[in-house]
């Protein structure tokens, strides 16, 4: 993956997308087992629909947040940094739904010798309905500038970089 520079990003540009395809009960079970969350709404169809009156086995919100982060991380590339992410769940996804996402640039600002891009991010299902939405701030190097520091410790120069208000 090539380094993405702040100079090459434009407001309105879609800088990232992700497509996990159709998520089955098996995907959900693998995630639930990986994090040892045994809540039955995530794998027990009878419990989810009968006991909890849900439309199906739920795709974990805890899983979807990592998909958002993964998308932004990959979009910013190896020289970038996912600094801040605010998000909310808007709609439930159930087994059989597709999970896709996009990230678009809404603003650009230089501070402390680094480039900061504000983003709107969302995950949608196969019908285009938004299940998860938020805003993010990514950090990118300036062409010919310094690398984004790691760890990314907050500095007073970054105080002017503000998260856009969530619509």
């Amino acid at each position: 993956m090539n380094t993405l520079y702040f100079d090459d990003v434009t407001v309105g540009q879609q800088i990232a997308a992700i497509d996990k395809g159709t998520i089955t009960t098996t995907h959900i079970m693998r995630w639930s087992a990986a994090i040892e969350n045994f809540h039955r709404i995530h794998y027990d169809q009878a419990f989810a629909t009968g006991h909890d009156k849900l439309p199906g086995v739920l795709i974990n919100g805890s899983w979807k947040q990592h998909i958002l982060i993964q998308m932004i991380k990959d979009g910013l590339g190896p020289g970038g940094w996912v600094w801040k992410l605010n998000f909310r769940y808007k709609k439930m996804d159930i087994a059989g739904d597709a999970v896709r996402g996009t990230a678009k640039v809404t603003g650009k600002q230089e501070a402390g010798g680094l480039g900061f891009v504000t983003l709107t991010v969302q995950l949608v299902n196969q019908h285009g309905e938004v299940s998860t939405a938020g805003t993010a701030i990514g950090v990118l190097p300036l062409r010919g500038g310094k690398e984004v520091p790691y760890p990314f410790v907050e500095a007073p120069e970054y105080a002017s970089v503000q998260m856009p208000v969530d619509e």
């Binding site: 996990k20 995907h27 693998r30 995630w31 087992a33 990986a34 994090i35 040892e36 969350n37 045994f38 809540h39 039955r40 709404i41 027990d44 419990f47 006991h51 909890d52 919100g61 805890s62 899983w63 947040q65 990592h66 998909i67 982060i69 993964q70 991380k73 990959d74 190896p78 940094w81 996912v82 600094w83 801040k84 992410l85 605010n86 998000f87 909310r88 769940y89 938020g134 690398e147 984004v148 790691y150 760890p151 990314f152 410790v153 907050e154």
Partner: protein
């Protein structure tokens, strides 16, 4: 029903004891985690790629620390609950999001997730343990047209054992 902010002021700023994860980050745990989120990024498994990166070593995805707290070996099996109640929802043993903070006493029973605000500083590396400190950043009673709602901001700060910041997660819980 009447209620007042004075019933909740004592929670604001309340901070829990730092909790050290039971286990350091292990490669196989990391493999299962990254396979489950379907992220093939070599930084999560490939020593050479990781060594050449800013991380210098294999690391976990940014928000992994939020899942680092699980039932430790030797603890009572949380599934014992099923012998008493076969209809248990399976959440026994989950750490939840309070990490030892006392639950807020209120008459509100319905819980909605009002969103998360994450700030990332550093990734957890293989072999490192994370330490979480939970805090009630804010507790606000509001009166809406359908009665009271209680907005609770739980701020969990994850650090390395050396005290380096990993991430902060501010989660808003809406009780009504």
């Amino acid at each position: 029903m009447s209620d007042s902010q004075a019933n909740y002021d004592r929670y604001i700023g309340m901070t829990g004891e730092p909790k050290v994860a039971h286990m350091p980050l292990e490669r196989d745990t990391l493999r299962r985690f990254t396979q489950a989120i379907m992220d093939p990024d070599p930084l999560y498994h490939d020593d050479q790629a990781a060594a050449a990166s800013r991380f210098g070593q294999v690391v976990a995805p940014p928000l992994y620390p939020a899942h680092a707290y699980r039932t430790p070996a030797g603890a009572a099996d949380p599934f014992e609950v099923f012998s008493q109640n076969p209809d248990s929802d399976g959440t026994a043993g989950n750490e939840g999001m309070l990490y030892g903070l006392p639950e807020i006493q209120s008459p509100y029973k319905r819980l909605l997730n009002g969103g998360n605000e994450l700030t990332f500083y550093r990734a957890l590396a293989v072999g490192e343990r994370c330490v979480v400190t939970p805090r009630y950043a804010d507790v606000k009673l509001k009166e809406g047209k359908n009665g009271f709602i209680l907005l609770v901001v739980v701020e969990t700060t994850f650090r390395t054992e050396k005290g380096e910041m990993l991430l902060v997660n501010r989660q808003t819980l809406i009780w009504r």
